[in-house]
């Protein structure tokens, strides 16, 4: 799909990056951000129109803006892009069935959410541009986040599990201290994300907070949410601290370092699994998982021990 539309920011495995690594996001320098600061008003006035008419032609080599010379290849980009995306999402059902039946692994998530401030920093202004905007045009940042809220909610809900068995995942990127200030989080990031979480919960959907990096500074804010409405995943944060602050309200997951899985010894992995289960899983409410997505640099013997030790110690 990414190549059907010529997506410029996407580093495809096997093309732009080696075949055995995950895709890479290639962020442009600040002066070449996909969305320049003068575009804020257009984004705020009509987010979907802005994405189709301005943003998509900028990030895609084969999509042209309205009024520009059009070719068969340009028209094909929407046809092929749409068909490829449909094919991609349609394959999840079969993939989940095979995971269940052939590997004994249940799917963990369905649907996707990003926080408005994160998406502004990720794909629109870029992180450097966003940092400048938070100081120079803060009102525009707030208005843009507010304008995107209902759309990000709608997109998350559209992909959610109709059976309400697995949570929607939110991939949390750059909205935490010290990447932004406490005021940025308290005034913008959280007030434009929390209503989405509450509305999804009202619709019966839990959200998996995949807290990439370290979000320890914000645990008290997350504790404001209703009991059970999220699963909180720990990457580089303090799992014990998360357990103390959130464990009485939410299920936790993660906390097994990817560095340990890639470079540690099996006995170290076993010791860490035992420690985690004793510290945070004594009363249930914990899902064993690596800190971040496991890539192919993890040692197979360590993954085997992770599974075996969890089955051995994770019994009540």
């Amino acid at each position: 799909m990414t190549q059907a539309i010529g997506l410029k920011y996407y580093g495809d495995p096997g093309i732009h990056v080696p075949p055995n690594v995950g895709f890479q996001y290639r962020e442009p320098p600040e002066e070449k951000a996909w969305m320049p600061p003068e575009d804020y008003d257009a984004l705020i006035a009509d987010p979907t129109g802005y994405l189709f008419n301005t943003w998509l032609p900028r990030v895609s080599a084969d999509v042209v803006a309205p009024g520009a010379t059009n070719t068969m290849r340009n028209n094909l980009s929407f046809l092929k892009g749409g068909m490829a995306m449909l094919s991609y999402f349609s394959s999840f059902g079969e993939a989940n069935r095979r995971l269940r039946e052939e590997c004994g692994v249940a799917p963990a998530i369905a649907g996707i959410l990003k926080a408005p401030l994160d998406i502004l920093g990720d794909k629109l202004r870029g992180f450097m541009g966003l940092c400048m905007d938070l100081m120079e045009r803060r009102d525009k940042v707030i208005a843009a986040c507010e304008a995107m809220m209902p759309h990000l909610y709608h997109t998350a809900l559209a992909g959610a599990d109709p059976n309400h068995e697995v949570p929607i995942a939110i991939w949390m990127h750059r909205g935490c201290v010290p990447l932004v200030s406490p005021d940025d989080f308290n005034d913008i990031y959280w007030p434009t994300l929390k209503p989405i979480i509450l509305e999804l919960w009202k619709q019966g959907h839990q959200v998996l907070f995949y807290a990439e990096g370290n979000w320890d500074y914000h645990l008290d804010a997350f504790a404001e949410l209703p009991d059970g409405c999220i699963v909180y995943h720990v990457d580089r944060g303090d799992l014990l601290k998360a357990h103390r602050t959130l464990g009485h309200k939410f299920c936790l997951s993660g906390g097994i370092s990817n560095v340990l899985l890639s470079y540690g010894k099996p006995e170290q992995v076993r010791a860490r699994v035992k420690e985690v289960i004793e510290q945070v899983a004594g009363d249930g409410g914990y899902i064993m998982d690596a800190s971040a997505i496991v890539m192919n640099d993890a040692k197979p013997e360590n993954m085997r021990v992770l599974t075996e030790a969890t089955r051995e110690y994770g019994v009540y």
Partner: protein, 62 residues
């Protein structure tokens, strides 16, 4: 900044989520509808929503 209003206050109007070309706009291009308007509306909006999700998923998922 105080906590935001419930999301429902943001989701009305022609620029509402799930919509690229509102049915109310499209219907003006046609002669008077002879059949069930609701069936035609639902079909139009289902397909329109797919196009909407396409661009938002490029932004969020890829």
């Amino acid at each position: 900044m105080s906590e935001r209003e419930p999301l429902s206050v943001y989701v009305e109007g022609p620029k509402r989520p799930g919509v690229c070309i509102p049915f109310e706009e499209k219907v003006r291009e046609w002669p008077p509808i002879q059949g069930e308007t609701e069936i035609i509306r639902r079909t139009w909006e289902e397909v329109d929503n797919l196009a909407y999700l396409y661009v938002w998923h490029v932004l969020v998922s890829f």
